[in-house]
Symmetry: C2
Subunit: 742 residues, 2 copies
């Protein structure tokens, strides 16, 4: 039955009739403008909430241009430059875009710049370098054959998102467009202006119900190169949150000076894959506190004007930290974000302390997809397939689209498709009565250096973009986002402070040396002891890739005794390995009625080729050369000398190792079964509602309803077990679903 | 024309006529017995040298059994055992074979045993552990959740090679066979006995011309498990060279105590892939000096009896170190070793200070190959193909076979084949007039932590056995063994002491953290500066796999500025990469007339799939996720995001990177061209005698002869350039060859 609501439509001027029809077809109850579109006068007639974008850190360009000293800053590193003799000249701007970056030589160079010998790691004495007339940094008394870099403070004279839009849409030709300068709200003058401008705007825009902040004050790190192409993008980056004012305020508050190198971080700029330093963690909280307190001043004004404050999760979102300790103080009513996949959907829908969340679905109504060669229906299906897995587990409250509606309506099949998606979204939301379905009693924790601050955000570089190298690990998050488990994100400190008391299975996922695997944290004997104790007393441990890795004391993974496998660093090639191949393990076995493989595992002899059970893990790009290191570990999948899946009993607990788990439904099922096995709860799995075929997902609600949905683009026939005590057989078309109500 | 000589035949009792015929057909001028065969009386009639095996460290079993305190020792580590509470009991013999290993509890346990907390790396106080009546080690005051191991001294009561032969041939049933105990010549009583026994034996064996020592005193590390299967094998291992006597003598000489952990080395036992510690390097030289001085006493006796002393390169060869500083003092006349491939062949033929070298060719006349399902002719061909590449560059003086002749003569096609091989060997030797062919003027050095001590021995675990993980690196050695270059093996100390003055191109090859890549050596700024200076002044640098890797100061490879590529450790995924793809580079281009690919390189766009030039490097198993880090590096081959081959100009020099180079003829050609390119000598390559097809090798002798040979099992037609100034076209059958004499 067609219902309405929970849907936001982007609208624009000149297509009033189409807007009206679409509002009705999609059941939309809110409208919005987009970057570069105006709300039509029509909005007054529509029985809908009106959202309007608002840019607090770059919306006021006339003023910004008149006050250039208000620009934001960022820290950058020069190229690594080898010295051939005792003098080396470094072109710090090599590869940077002068339209965006302006080295700030007005500051106290001794305090805010650094030259570092990257061969020794030593800081070069300030007396030993100077800036030449041509803007180069000349190091005197260099050591020949050493490599030098400069950490320099620069003004950011072009906002990242606006730069991207400007260059992508080639606005050089458009006299109405200018390069927008971001300004820094830490300056009193700026902050006064931002507040008064918002007051003015609120009073002038009575038609607006929801102020959609896009976003607040500091942009994630986005740096372009001298060819106007993207040079560096870190969606979590704090590089552009720096300024002399902030750095001095930090020192006053924390009692120590944060240095340029604390931000430049050997050129890695504290990307979230780096094990965070104390200084950087302090800085994040320092800015989080500052940003959230200033956001509150703005949301108070919004509320005073009778409107709602919505935050876009992106662009200038740095410091807001929706999973940080001060987000609850922002006064933000709602968060909207782009849904790239299940994990990014959960990142939005799990945000606490807001009244509602909204997912902006793909595809964006932009010409890159909406053209005669594009496949908008296909993209909508893939997007919905991923998002639905997450939405079922933890619903978004609303969905919407973005971009140019005038473009989308030229594709009637697409409109048909999103009409159906909007309806299915409402059906799920309403059948669930706004609640989440029942989760497994097995409680899962993802252990990493960031803990809850990066909830659903681990292994992510740029929002929802795919990176070949991260697929084996981000796939675990994508799997979990659609599985019926309570998932916590815990830090190593949390684990040492007793947080594992409320956990059944711990996951540690990622490459050696990353914050997600843990890197140097594993040098802490207390951490190791806590995990050993947890497993020995009956807990489950699952490692993916290079878990607990810190090569030391005879082991690569410091928990190799628990996993029963470890990486062959070529230091123990002399040791013979006799893997115990186990093709019929609970984890890799399939169930009767599954169309995806033989019911009984097959295994071939050791040596060349693959060895695997019936459910095959795809470990593409995962860790290599992990080998058995305890005599009793069971090897469930092997390729040449490399163990790809292993299971190990350890005292009263259990551990599972996967070389990698890029996302697909079969890998998700393997992870699900591994979690049950690690928890010693195979019987709970057997008694749970689930489908024989891993492509079919099942959700059970408290009210007895059971939702069975095909998370694939194929037609699937499968048995579904334990549907109100019975086995049902379903045949579901691609993306199809069925409700069993009792 | 059939010639004779330079061939050794294994003979045995009971086939006198066949022996005579075969001696003639193969042109053999020497005969030998094998392990377990007797020389027939016939030897007196044969106009041939007679070799006889001699076992100085285990040949005297009646005496050994009567003097059990003379056994050798070895250091072993217990399993890594986690403590659940404050007491942990460790079963040190778990997984070891009691027939081979006997923990030595008679020694001063505080001095010769250690218990180590492998979670902290700390040594447990001697007062805190004890040996239980059941032979377990009980640690009191353990820390729950920490992992403990025991370093224990054990008696070796079964010689490694004899154990292998005994178990493999199931001699349990044979009442004439006993488990042979090795004895330790460092004990005066033993040494007296060994000398007097040799005196007796020499006087009794007048028929023997050559005493073939098999071998001397200490066996390479070979440990079996409790199921009588190989547990640990390190052909270079010094683990079984230890003894209380030696350890105390070392301390007296070096002024510091070498500890159990110096040998156990976290359980890696100083395998040659480990960056060697100072203590271990001292120990190797200490034992090398001892062993060679004692060998000299034996060879003096051999010479006094009018015989020659030949050393078998294997078994109990530890301490002889043919490339060590004291080998010249041994008095050894000849070395014989098994030829597994080109690199092992060069390891034998390049040994200095001996009168001649001999290669024992494969297959060994044993039933594992000589049976109705075996392919002895095929194995002989593959072996000859590999060995010939090396022999041409640096001839062995003799070749031979081993095993049971009675078995081989049942395969007449095999006898035909080795008759031809023996003749071709002599033809090459004689045409070359015993000299090596002309090498390229480009001088190559392989830089590693061992330097010349491990000449042709890098990346080797067990003699000539293939390990999947080492293939991408050992392939470089295999390539070099058959290429026309002067190759030196230099240590990092050598490089810092000026050795690069005589080098044009430096190779650094292997995995991160290994002795061959260099590991912690790269923390030395002086080493980095020396290499940078070498390249900047015009030198060439070639890295394979993970060269110069030590993750520090913003780089994974400390020479990433030279290579222009570095590993993506997931810390700079935020940095965009724009590889400069170069399909038409000198290194990867083919020449007209080659049948192996298009003359002009093909390249597809970046992104999915492979990008490569005309000559494709096979980098199977090599390093992944190496990416461009300088704007000017040329990417010659790429797979997804991973650079597989790159070339970079650096000041006046050049660098080349390969992700891996497992051996094949095309990879060998790529390496050859990379060496010329890195040296800036493309013109020298163009003017050199070489074939268009990489499967064809060419050697040019000082006397003007040119040897052209097909190093493949296919028929190949190819142009050969610069044969006395002309281009010749050859068609060579599999393994075929042709001489051009001028």
């Amino acid at each position: 039955m067609a219902t309405t609501g929970r849907v936001t439509l982007p609208i624009e001027v000149g297509i009033d009739e189409e807007v009206k029809v679409l509002m009705q077809r999609l059941g939309a109850d809110a409208v919005r403008n987009s970057d570069g579109t105006e709300l039509p006068a029509l909005v007054d007639e529509l029985a809908a909430k009106v959202y309007s974008t608002y840019f607090p850190a770059r919306g006021d360009q006339e003023w910004a241009v008149a006050n250039p000293e208000t620009s934001t800053h960022l820290y950058l590193m020069s190229p690594r430059t080898p010295a051939r003799g005792n003098v080396v000249e470094i072109d710090i701007m090599e590869g940077y875009l002068r339209e965006q970056i302006q080295p700030d030589t007005e500051v106290d160079l001794a305090r805010f710049w650094q030259v570092i010998d990257r061969t020794t790691g030593e800081i070069v004495d300030f007396a030993d370098w100077e800036i030449t007339e041509g803007g180069l940094v000349r190091v005197n008394n260099a050591v020949a054959g050493h490599v030098y870099t400069v950490n320099f403070l620069a003004r950011q004279i072009w906002d990242g998102t606006q730069m991207y839009n400007y260059i992508t849409n080639n606005w050089d030709e458009d006299p109405k467009r200018h390069k927008e300068r971001p300004y820094n709200v830490r300056q009193d003058k700026v902050w006064d202006r931002v507040r008064s401008e918002l007051d003015r705007w609120l009073s002038e825009h009575t038609e607006v119900d929801v102020v959609r902040f896009t976003t607040f004050f500091y942009h994630f790190t986005l740096v372009f190169n001298d060819k106007r192409k993207e040079k560096f993008v870190d969606w979590f980056g704090y590089t552009a949150s720096v300024s002399p004012e902030a750095i001095l305020a930090f020192e006053a508050e924390y009692g120590y000076a944060i240095t340029p190198e604390d931000f430049v971080d050997e050129g890695f700029y504290n990307c979230s894959f780096r094990v965070p330093s104390k200084a950087f963690k302090d800085w994040v909280l320092f800015q989080h506190r500052f940003v959230t307190s200033r956001v509150r001043e703005l949301t108070d004004k919004v509320h005073a004007s009778g409107k709602e404050a919505m935050m876009f999760l992106g662009d200038n979102w740095i410091g807001t930290e929706p999973y940080g300790p001060h987000f609850k103080d922002t006064g933000i009513d709602a968060v909207v974000g782009s849904v790239g996949n299940a994990a990014t959907c959960r990142m939005i829908s799990d945000i606490p302390h807001v009244k509602y969340t909204e997912g902006r679905f793909l595809p964006y109504f932009f010409p890159d997809v909406f053209n005669e060669n594009g496949d908008p229906v296909g993209e909508a299906n893939v997007s919905w397939m991923a998002a639905r897995r997450a939405i079922v587990r933890k619903p978004l409250d609303r969905i919407g689209y973005g971009g140019y509606l005038s473009l989308a309506i030229k594709f009637p099949e697409f409109v048909d498709r999103i009409e159906a998606i909007c309806q299915e979204f409402r059906d799920i939301y309403e059948a669930a009565e706004g609640k989440t379905p029942q989760n497994s009693p097995v409680r899962v924790a993802v252990l990493n250096a960031w803990g809850s601050l990066r909830t659903w955000q681990t292994h992510m570089v740029a929002h929802a973009l795919a990176y070949e190298q991260t697929q084996p690990y981000v796939g675990v998050l994508e799997s979990l986002a659609g599985l019926p488990f309570d998932v916590q994100f815990l830090s190593f400190e949390d684990a040492m402070n007793g947080a594992l008391e409320n956990v059944d299975v711990v996951l540690n996922v990622g490459e050696a040396g990353t914050a997600f695997s843990g890197g140097r944290n594993w040098a802490d004997p207390q951490l190791q002891a806590v995990i050993r104790d947890f497993v020995a007393r009956g807990g489950g441990l699952i490692g993916v890739g290079e878990p607990a890795v810190l090569s030391a004391n005879g082991a690569y993974s410091q928990l190799s005794d628990i996993f029963g496998v470890d990486r062959e660093q070529s230091w123990s090639l002399s040791t013979d390995r006799y893997p115990n191949l186990e093709p019929n393990h609970f984890i890799t076995s399939t169930e009767v009625g599954c169309g995806c493989g033989a019911g009984i595992g097959q295994i071939s002899g050791p040596g060349a080729g693959k060895v695997r059970g019936a459910l095959e893990a795809d470990v593409t790009g995962g860790a290599r050369y992990w080998v058995p290191v305890t005599p009793d570990v069971q090897v469930l999948q092997m390729n040449g000398v490399s163990v790809e899946v292993a299971a190990h009993d350890y005292a009263d607990g259990r551990a599972v190792y996967f070389a990698g788990l890029p996302f697909n439904q079969q890998n998700a099922r393997l992870l699900q079964k591994a979690i049950y096995w690690a928890a010693g709860s195979e019987d709970v799995y057997a008694a749970s509602a689930h489908a024989a075929d891993p492509r079919i997902d099942v959700a059970v609600y408290e009210n007895g309803s059971v939702f069975v949905y095909n998370s694939s683009l194929e037609t699937v026939t499968s048995e579904v077990y334990n549907v109100a005590g019975k086995t049902e057989t379903v045949e579901l078309e691609p993306l199809g679903s069925i409700w069993f109500n009792h």
